[in-house]
Symmetry: C2
Subunit: 194 residues, 2 copies
DNA sequence: CTCCACATGTAAAAGGTTACATGATTAG
DNA sequence: CTAATCATGTAACCTTTTACATGTGGAG
């Protein structure tokens, strides 16, 4: 049992562990709509590559709708072996690494001594707006998953993501206050609310 | 002006934009102690590689303490050109991508239908403990940066990280409750507090 | 008729990690 | 004396992205 696949492979296999069969293209959309909020969405070309690898391991099977269907596509399904391997992987995982966060906005704030204060505020404000948009996306996804028994756990992950994004907004707003309190800086365009 | 360096290169250059000169080895420790909380710490071998690239671009200079010092080491300093390029990079950044989060624990929770409920609880509990440890590390780093005027912005990034980790603990605890509420599951080993 | 979504894949390049190799200094 | 820390680097390998190439079907 090849147990040392990269997390991405398990994520793709995981996508197929829920009821139904899907194409690589569909998998990418699923990943964009939910996986990405807590574990990033691979490029479509990588999804195809992972699917081929998983198939070569016997963890998935594919069916090519060749002559029958007008539009040719390859539909993937998880095998029993794949489900077993995935369960073994899911059952392990003690001593997991810490979550990795790559936050471009924080990277710039960290280097704030090199930028104009208003510019920094602008980046953070933009980030807040974007995050609120993502919050809406998560809520939509949550709405779609609601009530479906097989999706109890994805739903928990989504609920976590929802709270996480709400926290991200609060974090950014608190940072805005910290930014305003940096000494040696003109009062700037931010009204000292109160 | 080669403006299309990967964020990692800017992060390493950024490390050198604070007062003082340092070796690649020291840079790695700095990254482990602060950068990693909001933007991951590159492998030491990659730091050396980035330093060589930055030097070839004229963004940093190095001094090899050859025959003089007993222990040979190469000390890096940012150049004016490097500082300029970094400032340009820091001054841009509108339309930044969303932060990328890779959360191994969430990935397993998402696949919770394949694992034993107690196992899931164990992973999350372990994650809470680890996060609390990181919280302590951030507070230590914050203590070291405290009062140093040149570090106002790194301090803001650290403060953000502190709040973020505190939020992470709360998020995980809320998820534990969600996990207990999954239907079709034995009451388990978690006492229904109340 | 044109644009967008569907659908799949290849190839090159970049990014990044791990393992390996080496050696001095310091703390216990 | 021994282990850990300091210190640097190479090479192989894997992961992942980007750009490219191709073609169908439906909506406006």
């Amino acid at each position: 049992m090849a147990d040392d696949l990269p997390p991405t492979a398990w994520a793709v296999l995981g996508l197929l562990s829920f009821p139904g069969e899907r194409t690589g293209y569909e998998l990418k959309k699923w990943a964009d709509a939910s996986l990405r909020f807590f574990y990033w969405s691979p490029a479509i070309s990588q999804i195809y590559a992972e699917l081929r690898r998983l198939e070569s391991l016997g963890y998935v099977t594919s069916l090519h709708s060749g002559a029958e269907e007008p539009r040719a596509k390859r539909t993937y399904a998880i095998t029993e072996e794949g489900r077993g391997a995935l369960a073994v992987w899911a059952g392990g995982g003690q001593g997991l690494g810490a979550p990795v966060l790559k936050h471009p906005v924080l990277l710039r704030v960290w280097l704030g001594h090199l930028a104009a204060p208003e510019h920094l505020r602008g980046l953070v404000t933009e980030h807040v707006a974007r995050t609120k948009g993502e919050l809406k996306e998560v809520r939509d996804a949550l709405g779609r998953a609601d009530g479906v028994e097989a999706w109890a756990h994805p739903q928990i992950a989504l609920r976590w993501s929802e709270r996480r994004l709400a926290a991200e907004v609060e974090l950014a707003e608190a940072m805005l206050d910290d930014l305003d309190a940096v000494p040696g800086q003109p009062p700037g365009n931010s009204p000292t609310q109160g």
